[in-house]
Amino acid sequence: MNLTVALPRGLQLKNPVIAASGTFGFGPEYAAYVDLNQLGGVSVKGISPEPWRGNPPPRVWETPAGLLNSIGLQNPGVQVFIEEDLPFLANVDTRVIANIIGHTVDEYRQVAERLTAHPRVDAFEINISCPNIKEGGMTFGHDPDQAYQVTRAVREVTDRPLMVKLSPNVTDPGLIAEAVVDAGADMISAINTVVGLAIDLRRRRPALGGGTGGLSGPAIKPIAVRVVYDIAQRVSVPIIGMGGITTAEDVLEFLMAGASAVMVGTITFQHPQRMMEIIQDLPRVLQEYGFARLEEAVGAALPGHSEGRDFHGAPLGRA
């Protein structure tokens, strides 16, 4: 089965499975375990204009079917990325998505401007879950106006394919989706982590050095599917879905909810080879659920699409 995915501005993926930002380093780290050439794409760790130090450890904490992290977007800055990481990626045949971060609108713009000069960057993903230091730490992604401004600023300096990654921690993610599409985003990726907190009972303190953390993993899958399903009905750009994917069936769930491709994060820590297994399983799973082509599955569970049929071809009704 042909698994290629055609996205806006000529962004073509071999298959719909992309390594999620922050869980896959800059590419080389997992190269010993994963054949990067087999992946649909790699979204690298968030990149800022200057190095970011990140949060004090501990930075991860296990929760039921989930993981809390507070890495704090530690990264060596765009210059080091260009000098040390892009050259490695030059020899890899997959789509490279630069995930960009900043504390001000201008910082986002700077990173995008620097990286647009490099043809190896195939697309941009704006992470708007950063605190806006000018606005007293309020997160860009929590306010449609700020989300619009960041997207607009990046759009002005690049004609590369551009996606904006939504935070689920708002009353109405669809509102943010509409704002960033208005500002020129070609795609939406969703979701980033859900804000959570765990307490270290012995230390009587938040378990993570940064206090609150971002919840990822299977625990958040229903939240992620809900956000994708919701924004798919609010905007008409392609969606890259993610949150708790561990199997090809999970990928299909996101596709049916309206995603054109997916990103896979936390499960890689346990099973470095799982993304490759998912890619291998996907044709079988699509067929098992009655899809002859990948695109048929996209949005199949949205209102207006016909219901599934059972093994006997009869429509599956409700009791």
């Binding site: 130090r53 501990p58 993981l67 992290n69 993993g217 080879q273």
Partner: protein, 258 residues
């Protein structure tokens, strides 16, 4: 390409109450170095990092010895010979071998002892180290019998004095440092103990290697979860370095404890 691989469980021992040693067999384990660790698949969302307690490369064997503290280690303690454990291994930077012409000392606290046993087996045969082992109580002193024949001297301390000297490893260590102006010190144990050793060895002219712990995500350098504070110290504070790939073993000079 490296793999997450299934290692065979050869043997399961209970060396002390609440402690389990599992002997694992796989050819990839023949490459392991003392101080390195295995990232072990358990139920839940993260693997569990555990250092090698002994290495037998000819037979493709390696041991991991752990204390049962939570769900992951409880699950591991129920593993039986004949089953397999899925590992990412060997991971991290191990100990640098001690200079054969100089004295060396290993200082271990609690479950920091096993990796030092692996080091002593590896390099202690011709060149016996001074061994200082500390634990809370008599029951928690690990592997003392096994160190005995390989140690130049064996000192045991327990917090409650139930075996050896009452107190911590720091007293005996101070005496060894004073009597050995040069040499190599390998230490592993609770972070508080390592921080104290880091401070006390400030003026010492030998080489100090400290094996650290930190909560881990990937175990292979990608997620930046497992950081500790290290040199250089900038205006914002020390920089962060990864235990999983830049450690677990660090030279004293690389680290900063605050």
């Amino acid at each position: 390409m490296a793999h997450a691989f299934d290692a065979h469980v050869e043997e399961v021992r209970v060396p002390a109450p609440d402690h389990v040693e599992i002997l694992l067999r796989h050819e990839a384990l023949a490459q392991a170095i003392p101080g390195q660790f295995a990232h072990v698949l358990t139920p839940g969302t993260l693997r569990r990092p555990i250092s090698f307690s002994r290495l037998m490369p000819e037979r493709h064997l390696a041991g991991i010895l752990f204390r049962v503290v939570g769900q992951g280690t409880a699950w591991l303690s129920r593993v039986e010979p004949g089953q397999t454990l899925n590992l990412l291994a060997p991971l991290g930077r191990g100990f640098t071998p001690p200079d054969p012409d100089e004295p060396w000392c290993v200082v271990g606290g609690g479950v920091g002892i096993p990796p030092l046993y692996a080091a002593t087996r590896q390099w202690g045969n011709q060149h016996a180290p001074a061994v200082i082992l500390g634990a809370r109580t008599r029951q928690d002193v690990l592997m003392a019998d096994e160190f005995q024949p390989m140690a130049e001297s064996l000192t045991i301390t327990t917090d409650d004095g139930s075996w050896g000297t009452a107190g911590t490893v720091l007293g005996p260590l101070d005496r060894w440092l004073t009597s050995h102006p040069k040499g190599t010190l390998l230490a592993c144990g609770p972070t508080g103990m390592l921080a104290e050793i880091w401070r006390r060895t400030a003026g010492w002219s030998g080489r100090v290697q400290l094996a650290l712990e930190q909560r881990m995500g990937c175990g292979i350098g990608a997620c930046l979860a497992c950081v500790v504070t290290a040199e250089p110290v900038g205006p914002e504070g020390p920089r962060y370095r990864r235990v999983c790939t830049e450690g677990p073993v660090f030279a004293r000079e690389e680290l900063v404890f605050q």
